[in-house]
Amino acid sequence: MATPLKFNEAFRLEEVERGAQSLFYFLRAILGFDRLDDWDFELCAALEARHPYQPWLRMLVSKYRAGHKSVVCSQGYPLWRGFYIPNFSTKLIEGSSDNARYNHFLPLVDLLTGSPQSDYIGWLFKERIPDNWAGTNSDRIVLKQTNPLAGATLSYWGINSKFEGWHGNCFVLDDAQATDTEDSEVGADAAWRAYHRAEPLLVNHNVDQGLVVGVGPIHRRGRSFVHELKKQFEGALEEAA
C-alpha cells in the first residue's frame, strides 16, 4: 500500500523545488495539465534549454495542430517563469486580443483563482501570491513583485494593439498569423510587423526572451510568417556557425 502524501511544509518546499527543476512537472503535477504527453516533455526540455537543446533568447516553436504548443508556451511557460523569478513579466501577443483573452488568458485566470487546483497552487506559492489574488483581473495576472517598476506577471495584447507602455522580460507571439488569413499577404505582413514591434519591448536583450509559436497557413500559395522566420533564424544560425 502506497504511503499517503503528507501535505506539510517539507512536502510543499520539495514540490515547489520539483516544479523549479522541471517545466513539465510544473505543468502536469502543479498546474494539473494532465493531457500533456512525452512529446510535450520534449518541448518543455527545449524551453528549459535542457541538454541537448541550446540556451535561447529567441525561439520559434512549430508543432502539429493540437500539439499543446499554446498550452506549454503561452500558458505554462510564462507562469513558470513568473512563479520562480521575481519581477519576471511576460506579454502574450496573439493575432487578436480576443483570441488571447478567451482561449489562453481567461482559462489561466480561472485555473489560478477558481478551479479545484487553485487552492493547491495557492498553498504551494503562498509567498508569491497576493491576498485574494489582488490585482489579478481579466487583463492581467499579478504576483508579488519586489521591483516597483516590474509589470504584471502575465498580460496580453492583440497584434493590432498599441505596443507601448510595457517593458518586460519575455514576449510570446502566439499564432500571430491566424490560420484564416492564409489567402492574403495581410496576415503574414501583420505578423512580421508585430514581431518587429515586440523586439524593442524587452528590457535587456542579453537575457530577455522572445518566443514565437505557430504553424504555417493552410493555403499552399499563401505566405507563411512562421516559415519565413524559420528561414531567417536558420540563416542566422548558419552565419554564426
Partner: protein, 353 residues
C-alpha cells in the same frame, strides 16, 4: 526555495537562437505521437492534402515547388504559324457578352489568335551576375548566372518570350550578348537589375560605347527584315524597380497574375531553361536568374498601338511598290500588270537587267 531565479545568464553562452520544429510524422514516416496519429486519424486528415501538408507536416507554402502553376504556363505557350517564324499563334481571350455565367458575368472565351512579330514592342531584361561564387558568404544559397530575356508585348496586352540567354558569364561576356540581342530584337527599353556590383553595368556599357565601334553604332538587323541604325544601348537602359521584398514575393506579385490569366506566353519549341527555372523557384539548386529577368518586365511593359487602317494601307502600298520595282529590275511583266503609260518605243530602248 521559492523565488529562486533560474540561471538566465547561461543564455549568453549559446548562439541565442533556437528552432523547435516537430511535424506529426518523423523522418521515417512514423508518427511521433502514435496515440494521437493513428492510421485512421491520418487517413481522415489526409483527405484534405493541403491541410495535412501545412498544418501537420509543417511544410511551407509551395515548399520544394514553384510559385507558379505548371499547367498554366504550359497552356499559354505560343508557336509560330509560319515557316519563317514571323507570325505568332497564341491563345487569346475575350469576354463573350452573349454568354453569361451563373452569376450573370460575361463568360471568358479563349480563341486562337495571331500576331505579327513586327507588331510587338520588345523589351530586354538583364540580370548580371554580381558576385563570383567564391565571394559569396554561404555555399547553400541559390546558384547564380548572368541572364537576359527578350519579351515582346502585343497590342492586345499579351506578352511573349521569343528569346533568352543565360550563361555563367562575367560582365564582359554579358555586354557582348546584350549587344547581340539588342541588334537582333531592337528593344524599346533595356532594364537591368542594379543591386550591389550590378550598378556598374550601365557604366561599363557606356565605356564600351566610347571605345568599341560595334557598341558605338549598333544596327538593327531583325528577323522581320528591319535594318536601321539604333541609338546607343545605354540610352535605352533603365534600372529595374526593386522593392525590399523576398524573391518569391516579387515573382508572385509580378508574374503570378500574368501566368494565371494566360497572358504571358513562352515559346512552345524553345522554353526549356526558362520553364525549368519557373517551375523550380523554390529549389536552391536551380538558378532563377531568367525568372529574375522576366519579373522585371511587367512594371515597364507597355502595349504598342494597334496597327490601324493607315498602317495597313501603307504596308499594302509599300508592298505594291516593292513588287513593282522588283519586276522593273527583272524586266518581266506579270499578267496583272497595269498597262504602261510609257510609249512602246521608249520602253524598247530601256536597258534590260
Amino acid at each position: 526555495m521559492i523565488g529562486k531565479a533560474l540561471d538566465l545568464g547561461i543564455a549568453q553562452q549559446g548562439r541565442g537562437i533556437s528552432v523547435f520544429w516537430m511535424p506529426a510524422l518523423g523522418p521515417d514516416e512514423e508518427p511521433f505521437n502514435a496515440r494521437l496519429f493513428t492510421p485512421e486519424a491520418i487517413r481522415i486528415l489526409r483527405m484534405d492534402p493541403d491541410l495535412w501538408r501545412t498544418q501537420y507536416l509543417l511544410e511551407g507554402p509551395g515548399e520544394g515547388d514553384s510559385e507558379f502553376v505548371e499547367a498554366d504556363i504550359r497552356a499559354a505557350m505560343f508557336e509560330y504559324a509560319d515557316a519563317g517564324h514571323l507570325l505568332i499563334r497564341y491563345k487569346g481571350y475575350d469576354f463573350d457578352e452573349d454568354r453569361l455565367d451563373d452569376q450573370g458575368f460575361a463568360v471568358l472565351a479563349y480563341s486562337s489568335t495571331k500576331v505579327r512579330l513586327d507588331y510587338l514592342r520588345y523589351y530586354m531584361h538583364v540580370d548580371p551576375k554580381h558576385k563570383k561564387d567564391s565571394q559569396r558568404k554561404s555555399k547553400n544559397r541559390q546558384k547564380m548566372e548572368a541572364a537576359l530575356v527578350i519579351a515582346g508585348v502585343a497590342p492586345d496586352g499579351h506578352a511573349f518570350v521569343p528569346d533568352y540567354w543565360h550563361a555563367d558569364a562575367g560582365v564582359d561576356q554579358l555586354a557582348v550578348a546584350m549587344l547581340r540581342y539588342y541588334c537582333r530584337w531592337a528593344p524599346y527599353r533595356v532594364s537591368y537589375e542594379s543591386i550591389g556590383a550590378q550598378v556598374w553595368l550601365k557604366e561599363y556599357i557606356e565605356e564600351k560605347e566610347k571605345s568599341d565601334s560595334r557598341f558605338k553604332r549598333p544596327r538593327a538587323r531583325t528577323r522581320w527584315g528591319a535594318d536601321f541604325e539604333l541609338p546607343r544601348m545605354s540610352s535605352r537602359m533603365i534600372e529595374a524597380e526593386k522593392q525590399n521584398e523576398s524573391k518569391e514575393e516579387a515573382y508572385r506579385a509580378m508574374l503570378g497574375g500574368w501566368f494565371a490569366r494566360k497572358a504571358l506566353h513562352l515559346d512552345k519549341k524553345r522554353h526549356d531553361a526558362l520553364f525549368h527555372q519557373l517551375t523550380h523557384t523554390g529549389d536552391d539548386n536551380v538558378p532563377v536568374d531568367l525568372v529574375d529577368c522576366l519579373a522585371q518586365g511587367p512594371a515597364v511593359w507597355q502595349a504598342p498601338r494597334e496597327p490601324g487602317i493607315l498602317d495597313h494601307a501603307s504596308a499594302s502600298r509599300r508592298k505594291f511598290i516593292e513588287t513593282f520595282l522588283r519586276q522593273q529590275r527583272s524586266g518581266g511583266a506579270p499578267a496583272h500588270r497595269p498597262p504602261s503609260r510609257y510609249p512602246a518605243r521608249r520602253r524598247a530602248l530601256r536597258p534590260v537587267g
